[in-house]
């Protein structure tokens, strides 16, 4: 009972320490919201204004029809009509356009003859991902054009028509993938940094030693340090979640309770990692940089920016140790797929295991330092 009262007092003190200082309060509450908003808009692979130039040597009604289809897609923005082959290099080099579409002088003639009528598309490969997506869009538009052309010129339609559909995200918007993923990413960064720094600050300022001579047992100090971080993490996570649902209007399919259960376990694991970092760091600088050294691999191997299944096998095994990987999967499953508790169980138990391990390791490290 006494122990419980002591822990509550310590938790209260920790919360006050963070929330009473206006600058700390600011960095804990405002940035997650701001980041969720800004990065939510920025983190998308979908293109909506691809600047392109046209070098149309044919200038026929067919070529105009083809280009009108590209212009009408709403995704492409024609910035120039080139008159000379030489202009292509300078317009790509200077990043004025990322695509140049070149239509040969015999385009219409060959089209009327039944094809093939080649269209050259040159893309700026400096960001090959963006360029690849833009080329994909052009491919889709061309397919539509071909089908229409065949229809209106009495040619037989293609004998096989692939019909594509996507589950859980019918319009394939990357935002639906990225923003729920940010819930995990942003809270992980904040949890590790806040926890590691709060212990390191006490240590650097010498107040940690004062804590140690109080009747607190090390485990009580650890609980007192972790609970406030988890509470802050829950608040931050709720803010980003609200942003995803109400601002970005991403349909939430599952049960909130499942999501919160998963996130709570994840927060405990993240705080455990923060405590582990702080147990080896002597100064705040080391704590921050140490947090960074751990956050980077977690973030890179989380599957949010690049899919885990694209990685080599050995690295895929390494990601099994990454709590962020499971957290992001849980959020996606519950958010987009509406997964049940059973559906997220394969992710829940590894997180729980990681949480138990990191916390006990941190406690062990602290006790070892004391003796």
């Amino acid at each position: 009972m006494d122990s419980l009262r002591r822990i509550v007092a310590l938790i209260w003190k920790e919360l006050l320490a963070i929330l009473k200082d206006p600058r700390s309060r600011f960095v804990v509450l405002v940035p997650p919201l701001l980041q969720g908003l800004i990065f939510g808009y920025a983190a998308t692979y979908d293109l909506n204004s691809v600047r392109y130039a046209v070098y149309d040597q044919d200038k026929s009604s067919a070529s105009r029809q083809f280009l009108a289809m590209i212009d009408g897609s709403g995704t492409f923005l024609r910035i120039a009509n080139l008159r000379d082959q030489k202009d292509i290099a300078s317009i790509i080099d200077g990043k004025d356009a990322i695509l140049v579409i070149q239509i040969g002088a015999d385009f219409e003639r060959r089209l009327l003859a039944g094809g093939p009528a080649d269209v050259q598309v040159i893309a700026d490969g400096r960001n090959s991902n963006t360029a690849g997506t833009a080329l994909n869009y052009i491919g889709t538009i061309t397919e539509t054009f071909n089908a229409q052309w065949k229809g209106s010129n009495g040619q037989p339609p293609p004998s096989v028509q692939p019909a594509s559909r996507a589950w859980y995200n019918p319009n394939l918007e990357t935002r639906w993938f990225m923003i729920p993923g940010l819930i995990g990413m942003l809270t992980l960064v904040q949890m590790i940094v806040i926890t590691a720094m709060s212990v390191a600050r006490e240590r650097e300022q010498g107040t940690f030693d004062q804590l140690l001579v109080t009747p607190f047992r090390p485990i009580e100090i650890m609980i007192g340090k972790s609970v406030p971080s988890v509470l802050i993490g829950l608040v931050q996570m709720t803010m980003v979640l609200a942003l995803a649902i109400f601002w970005f209007k991403i349909p939430f399919q599952g049960a909130l309770s499942n999501l919160y259960l998963g996130v709570l376990l994840f927060l405990v694991a993240a705080v455990g990692i923060g405590l582990m970092v702080s147990s080896v760091a002597a100064t705040m600088q080391q704590a921050l940089l140490g947090s960074f050294l751990t956050i980077m691999p977690f973030a890179m191997l989380s599957g949010l920016n690049t899919p885990i299944s694209n990685m080599p096998k050995e690295i895929q095994y390494l990601t099994l140790l990454n709590p962020l990987r499971y957290a992001i999967t849980i959020v996606h499953k519950v958010f987009l797929e509406g997964a049940s508790l059973r559906g997220i169980f394969p992710e829940l138990w590894p997180i729980a295991l990681i949480a138990v391990f990191t916390l006990s390791f941190a406690v062990w490290m602290f006790q070892r330092r004391l003796t």
Partner: protein, 385 residues
């Protein structure tokens, strides 16, 4: 900064000032060398990241697990199955019912389903045989690439099938695309330059912000101010070691990218070094400014993370296309030095010395450098009065 030094009344000679900077520098260097965390962040993290980027991370799916539903095995459906099996992009599991495929997808064992209906053969002769392609849309970018791979495999099969006919099945207009600067579509080509930006930002802004905030927090900077050392000299002495660390990180990353992963360096090494030095100066300036304003390690670390590092990932054009971002958010990207540096690095590495990119981007960074250092110098002085 230099003019700051010379404008002051010369009550001591230029030579003495160099000696003071050297002394400060030595002290700072020792501090860097003795604290393993700075070395770790400036040199070990880059090596780790570049190996990860080089060997591990890729946006190009391969071996996508796919369920192929053949409701009635026929010679034609066997041909289609062959086309998918031969494609290096897919790892095909053949099933005979749609229900089984749906189960596999819900269990997360496959990322896509390709279904040939029972009457596929019959309808093929009428010219309206549908192939159903269903992908797991959660990761939309990946899903879209898988869709286009599937269409590619189908197209290939059709091409072979129609090889004996003169008619081209793919339709009259055929797109011939060429990816300049990165013909092979290698995502490492843009990941390595992007990584350099991240590393320089970490060393320049985050590390400097922390180190200086500590001096403010402990009051050791005020102690330095009462010595004959001038503000400008302190700033040089404090930042130069981190500048050198940052440049070492650049050398490490660029040479690993060049020699291990064969990312080309088509521009000149001299220009690469010069623009990197300029960016590092701006980053150091931001680090100093953040530490001067916050004067607390806890807050400085958080602010540096939020204001410099995370935007370098999300808002610099390194991964995500800035042109597709809403205008209000895009405006923010203009005040981020990382935006200009990403553009410069991608151009110098992959395209060459293109002055129409180099000059405006460098000019923007130069302006930022002057503003940031001007404000920092003023803030540093003002706090003393």
């Amino acid at each position: 900064m230099e003019s700051q030094l010379t404008n002051k009344p010369a009550h001591d000679s230029q030579k003495m000032s160099a000696r003071r900077i050297r002394a400060l520098l030595r002290k700072e260097m020792l501090q860097v060398i003795r604290d393993p965390s700075s070395i770790a962040i400036a040199l070990i993290l880059p090596i780790f990241l570049i190996l990860l980027f080089g060997y591990g991370l890729s946006l190009d799916p391969k071996d996508v697990p796919l369920a192929l539903v053949l409701e009635k095995p026929t010679p034609v459906s066997a041909e289609v199955a062959g086309a998918f099996r031969l494609s290096s992009y897919f790892r095909v599991t053949t099933v005979t019912s749609m229900q089984r495929a749906v189960d596999l997808m819900q269990e997360g064992r496959v990322d896509g389903i390709v279904r040939l209906a029972e009457d596929f053969d019959r309808r093929l002769s009428f010219g309206d045989a549908p192939i159903q392609v269903i992908v797991l849309g959660v990761d939309a970018n990946r899903a879209r690439i898988i869709q286009s791979y599937a269409q590619g495999a189908i197209g290939q099969w059709l091409g072979q099938r129609n090889a004996d006919r003169s008619e081209v099945s793919a339709g009259p207009v055929v797109i011939q695309s060429r990816m300049w600067f990165n013909e092979a579509f290698d995502s490492r080509y843009f990941l390595v330059p992007g990584l350099i930006v991240l590393i320089m930002t970490l060393t320049g802004a985050l590390l400097t912000a922390m180190v200086m905030a500590r001096e403010w927090e402990r009051g050791t900077l005020e102690a330095l101010f009462v010595t004959p050392v001038r503000t400008g000299e302190i700033l040089i002495g404090k930042t130069l070691p981190y500048f050198l660390l940052g440049m070492a990180g650049l050398l490490l990353t660029a040479s690993t990218g060049r020699f291990l992963f064969h990312v080309p360096l088509r521009g000149s090494l001299l220009i690469l070094t010069a623009v990197s030095a300029l960016y590092l100066f701006v980053a150091l300036g931001f680090g100093l400014l953040i530490s001067t304003i916050t004067r607390s390690q806890f807050v400085a670390g958080q602010v540096a993370l939020i204001a410099t590092f995370l935007p370098a990932v999300f808002l610099s054009g390194f991964i995500f296309d800035l042109a597709s971002v809403p205008k209000a958010v895009r405006l923010i990207s203009y005040v981020l030095p990382a935006r200009y540096y990403v553009s410069l690095l991608q151009t110098i590495f992959l395209a060459g010395n293109i002055w129409s990119i180099i000059i405006p981007n460098c000019a923007a960074m130069l302006v930022m450098f002057m503003i940031v250092f001007g404000v920092t110098l003023r803030k540093t002085k003002k706090r003393l009065l």
